[in-house]
Amino acid sequence: MFRLIPTDRLLIAILRIFAVNTVLVLLLILAFLLLESWPVLMQLSLTRFVTDTSWHPLEGAYNLMPMLAGTLLASMGALLLAVPLGMSSALFIVFYAPSHLATLYKRLIELLAGIPSVVFGFWGLTTLVPLINQWHPPGASLLAAILVLTLMVLPLITLTAYTALAAVPDELIHNAAALGLSRWGMISGVALPAAGSGITAGIILAAARALGETMAVLMVAGNVVQYPETVFDPIRTLAANIALEMAYAMGDHRAVLFVSGLLLLLLVMVLSSIAGFLEKQRHA
């Protein structure tokens, strides 16, 4: 570390030049998002994103709130369904299933974690939307978005919860068993509290994933900008809006899309730093 010979010095210099690029990429992304949204951030007062009549960019109305509401509702709905299901799956793998079944089930979940979002969206479009349509038209709706997002974040929640539960020291479990705690008493009293921060971090990461998900939601949500009154109403999310309108947006409209991208980035960054903080606490 103290005296380096020339080859090593050269190596480190080269490595540094490459490594700086990773920082540069992040800076570039932030710089370009800011650069593209600057005209609008300067011209329009920020309150316009809240007080305009609705989202009609060609009529100069840029209210982002209905889409923000749609994004949050879809993500929260998905979490509401995915958290109990994912937790049950993780508990099943760790505490309930016989070992070969646990391995099989875990493989299935891992396989699902790798399925691309566009395939989930496609399945939702061809199977889920017609089903919901028969029940309550028009089919493409908040409900469809919630269900597809649930499928997408469920493997993530299951796998992080599994990792956290598997990391609970065996002594704790054995002690609980020795004290004569029932199985559920041991899970709720010992395992879940011990794995708590890891599980929470996983759920927050899943929330970040759901907020930023684009294609699957774009395909099944109907993409109407409105506050939904029931789960059968179509919605549009921020990410889907970018994908839908980016192709032809110009001037202020394009800049507002970059603003919504920035907003999305900030939301996700806050969530992932909370998750990172929790992770750090767990290891400390």
Partner: protein, 276 residues
């Protein structure tokens, strides 16, 4: 930290060199990029294929995204030619437009829907949410699923203009982009109503897709009626460029407007325009 800044500077320098190299490479190739209206795109792909057969050294990429994208891309220099399925507006006189065909906008429903004709008042009421059941206009007892186009599509602009509505007044259930997406949505939902290019709808209907074009005010939505001018919702399909076309771009536009392509244009259910 000082080290950090030094490396950052070196990197930026390399990046600039690399970027200028990439730009010079991209300028050298013989390619035409055509973007814009999804109404024109299927026809344009076919024209491009034929043009490439005659000029093997040229490669033409056609991408959709709506008329506004065509205008936008041409202005920013991302595309060489834009496809715009309407006449240019007064604030777009910096661009050069070349009409290649005429088209109409037709209302489509699922083929199983017994409704045959609607008048503009009924359509406006359906699109603003005043009529919500097909029974009110002589159809089955079912809720209407209103399919609207995304903003920035000239089909939407002309349709709203004809009905004298603002897009904020429309109460849609599904928002779609390309014509084909509208046709696909109506195909999959027997109680949907949508509006698309007559050319695209007639082309798909002839291939067996279960959709039907409705008559508007009693005038059948057909190529003949667009041709004779009695169909109320018709428009020119344009190719646009930012400068007076030169070289290969000019050759391509002339090819697209030449009489030898009229059969192809008619096969896509558009109406060729006699240049003379």
């Amino acid at each position: 930290m000082k080290n950090c800044a030094k490396y950052l500077l070196i990197n930026l320098f390399c990046l600039i060199i690399w970027a200028s190299w990439l730009t010079s490479v991209s300028a050298a190739s013989q390619r035409l990029i055509v973007t814009g209206s999804s109404t024109v795109a299927p026809l344009m792909s076919e024209i491009a294929r034929r043009f490439e057969l005659q000029h093997p050294e040229v490669r033409i990429d056609v991408q959709t995204g709506g008329s506004s994208r065509g205008i936008n891309d041409v202005r920013r220099g991302i595309a060489d030619i834009g496809m715009v399925s309407r006449a240019l507006k007064p604030n777009e006189d910096d661009l050069h437009a070349f009409s290649i065909a005429m088209d109409g906008i037709g209302i489509i429903v699922h083929a199983s829907n017994p409704v045959r004709s609607l008048n503009p008042k009924q359509i406006a009421d359906i699109y603003t949410g005043k009529i919500t059941h097909w029974k009110s206009v002589g159809g089955p007892n079912a809720r209407i699923t209103v399919v609207n186009k995304a903003e920035g599509r000239s089909t939407l602009e002309l349709f709203l203009d004809y009905l004298q509505l603002k897009n904020s007044a429309v109460k849609p259930h599904i928002i779609i982009g390309d014509n084909a997406q509208g046709i696909k949505t109506v195909t999959g939902n027997p109680h949907a109503i949508g509006y698309v290019s007559i050319g695209a709808a007639a082309y798909e209907a002839q291939r067996g897709t279960p959709i039907r074009l409705l008559a508007l005010n009693g005038v059948t939505a057909s190529v003949e009626n667009v041709h004779s001018g009695i169909f109320p919702l018709s428009r020119p399909l344009n190719l646009i460029t930012s400068r007076v076309p030169q070289g290969i771009i000019r050759a391509f536009i002339e090819f697209a407007r030449s009489p030898q392509l009229y059969p192809l244009i008619e096969a896509h259910y558009f109406v060729p325009i006699d240049t003379d």
